[in-house]
């Protein structure tokens, strides 16, 4: 551990460089890609939250779409029906996902392993069905569109509309940076060390004196809030709220992006979300059954590259990558 300080500096520098690169890219790429990248960054934030639970704490969930959707509806519904400001709406989205994650965690963490997985699946499915059932309010899977006026933020005299591509891009970048740096800080902290220990050998971790239930609950709640932030961000930036985002499909996407990028790596979610976005985009040009790519990629990953892209990179050449 002689170069611990050196390693730490290197890691922070790398992650800041990624953010800087993302900032610079908007001046280099044509406008078409700005919207795509903004979307990718929001989805990457979703995957960062998911990865916190799967990659670092070792809990597989197939229900995370409900946290994303909680943030989305939590921000979108007030914006649509009432006259709340952008920041308040975002805050409400965070609150909604926090409440959902906490109550869910208190119940679901009594179960473990496959039982936990199925509980996440069932709760998420119930949540999705509820958004359909209450479709007088939520407008079901048709969804609703948020006006530009609702998505305009005035800070210190400066008027920013999220319909503006530049504002959209940089807001998405801000969201992703906060989520990603937050994740980095957490996984390198004493808490992160315990999470990894729980993933590796939970009984041993308990016998070292850690209340593993409390740590898992913390991971679940933080994971839920980050996913909720992504969902609220999506509503604000892309103006659309609909049931599809609560469906199992988005839970599977979170898993897919995380696995592809490298489960248990901080930057993996960005790589996975970005790569998958363009894969699906390209496939969509050829066929309407473009989700086939999803199936093929999942199989390839699980059979031959379970560590994903950055995970394999880390195993071979860069052991210090967090």
């Amino acid at each position: 551990m002689s170069s611990a300080k050196g390693k730490g500096a290197r890691i922070v520098a790398l992650h800041l460089a990624v953010i800087a690169a993302l900032f610079a890219v908007q001046f280099l790429l044509p406008a078409y890609h700005h919207g795509n990248l903004a979307r990718i960054m929001v989805f990457a934030s979703f995957a960062v939250g998911y990865n916190l639970l799967l990659g670092y704490t070792g809990l597989l969930s197939l229900g995370h779409a409900m946290f994303f959707a909680a943030g989305m509806y939590g921000a979108g519904l007030p914006l649509y029906y009432f006259d709340v400001g952008v920041l308040q709406a975002f805050g409400l989205g965070l609150l909604a996902s926090f409440g959902l994650a906490l109550s869910f965690g208190l119940l679901a963490l009594r179960a473990s392993g496959i039982a936990f997985l199925i509980v996440t699946l069932m709760f998420a499915q119930a949540f999705f069905l509820a958004t359909l059932y209450f479709n007088e309010i939520t407008l079901g899977d048709q969804g609703f569109v948020l006006s530009e006026q609702a998505r305009t933020l005035t800070l210190g005299g400066v008027v920013m509309s999220f319909a503006d591509p530049t504002v959209k891009y940089n807001a998405a970048l801000l969201l992703f940076s906060c989520c990603m740096l937050g994740c980095l800080a957490l996984v390198r902290s004493p808490i992160g060390r315990v999470w990894v220990a729980i993933r590796e050998n939970e009984p041993r971790t308990r016998m070292l004196g850690y209340d593993t239930y409390r740590y898992k609950l913390l991971a679940l709640v933080l994971s839920g809030v980050i996913c909720g932030a992504a969902g609220a961000g999506y509503a604000l930036l892309f103006a659309y709220v609909g049931s599809t985002f609560a469906s199992i499909q988005y839970s599977i996407f979170a898993l897919l992006w995380t696995l592809l990028g490298g489960v248990g790596t901080v930057l993996g979610p960005l790589v996975g979300a970005g790569l998958m976005f363009y894969l699906v985009d390209i496939a969509g040009d050829f066929t309407s059954s473009y989700l086939l790519v999803v199936g093929v990629v999942l199989l390839l990953l699980i059979l031959w590259y379970p560590k994903g892209l950055l995970g394999s990179l880390r195993a071979r050449w860069l052991p210090w990558l967090p």
Partner: protein, 295 residues
């Protein structure tokens, strides 16, 4: 219609779906019981059975009865072969690890579903029932074919039970389910049993799909609802308990049918999914399964 006959109709509908659900869920339960893995693609085998039935009956357009009869035999066999191959090529390689299998079967789900979308298209297509007669109740006429479905499903369930209890393969399955290592030590070809059980599970789902397709239509997304319901049934009935699965299928199939007729199908599903989540939280092994040892 008055309430009484309406309830009777709801019960009839519930019985039909309960029997079909029992066959479908039994396939999932066998796979979980013997192999200890969750097959998320199970609904797609059901869908594949229905779509193949459409294709075969369209091919043999001459006589609906012969076409359907052929479909009832051939479609499950084809689906069984697909499942066998999937086990051999994929599941074996990941060594049946629980989480990896779930991800792999999700992949399989997408592949099967999207391939069907490519070749069959997004439309829902009907299939003619092999025979058409109505049973006359004092308040309404009811499709005789649906009652045949009940009979056929019952036969399938009986067949599986007999196979488990009386045949050598059934013995292998039960032994592997009880204690995989012991079975292997006694010379049971566990790997082969796994492949055959996976195929058998798929075939049951496919058979259910074939039986159901004259009532519903064949559509590439039709596997998702049966998957969810089968999950619920298998968990509520107790992971690994076949008897529990069948009992749960009836309870859930009937109540789902009745609630769907009187209230909304969406509400029925919400209640069912929350119920099963609670069952798992408080009794991780389901209602009938063996309770886990204290940790």
């Amino acid at each position: 219609m008055d309430f009484g006959p309406h309830l009777f109709l709801a019960l009839l509908e519930g019985t039909v779906s309960a029997f079909v659900l029992a066959v479908t869920a039994l396939g999932l339960s066998l796979v979980f019981g013997v192999m200890r893995v969750v097959n998320v693609a199970h609904g797609e085998f059901y869908m594949l059975g229905a779509v193949l039935a459409w294709w075969l009956t369209t091919l043999l357009a001459g006589s609906p009865m012969i076409g359907f009869g052929v479909a009832l035999i051939v479609a499950p066999l084809i689906v069984g072969a697909v499942a066998f191959a999937a086990d051999w090529l994929i599941l074996r390689r990941i060594d049946y690890q629980p989480e990896a299998t779930i991800v792999a079967t999700i992949g399989m789900l997408y592949i099967i579903q999207q391939l069907v979308l490519t070749f069959y298209g997004p439309d829902a297509r009907p299939v003619e029932p092999p025979f058409y007669f109505r049973v006359s109740f004092p308040w309404f006429g009811y499709s005789g074919y649906k009652l045949i479905v009940v009979g056929a499903s019952a036969l399938l369930l009986l067949g599986v039970w007999l196979a488990m209890a009386r045949t050598k393969f059934g013995l292998y399955m039960r032994a592997t389910q009880q204690n995989q290592e012991m079975a292997q030590a006694f010379g049971v070809p566990v790997r082969r049993v796994y492949a055959m059980v996976f195929a058998l599970g798929a075939m049951l789902a496919a058979a259910a799909g074939v039986l159901v397709v004259p009532i519903q239509q064949a559509h590439y997304l039709m596997g998702l609802d049966p998957l969810l319901l089968s999950f619920i049934v298998v968990i509520v009935g107790g992971l690994g308990s076949l008897r529990g699965t069948v009992v749960a299928a009836f309870i859930i199939g009937l109540s789902d049918g009745v609630i769907s007729v009187f209230f909304s199908p969406t509400l029925a599903k919400i209640i069912a999914t929350l119920f099963v989540a609670m069952v798992l939280v408080y009794r991780p092994s389901g209602l009938f399964g063996q309770p886990e040892e204290e940790q």
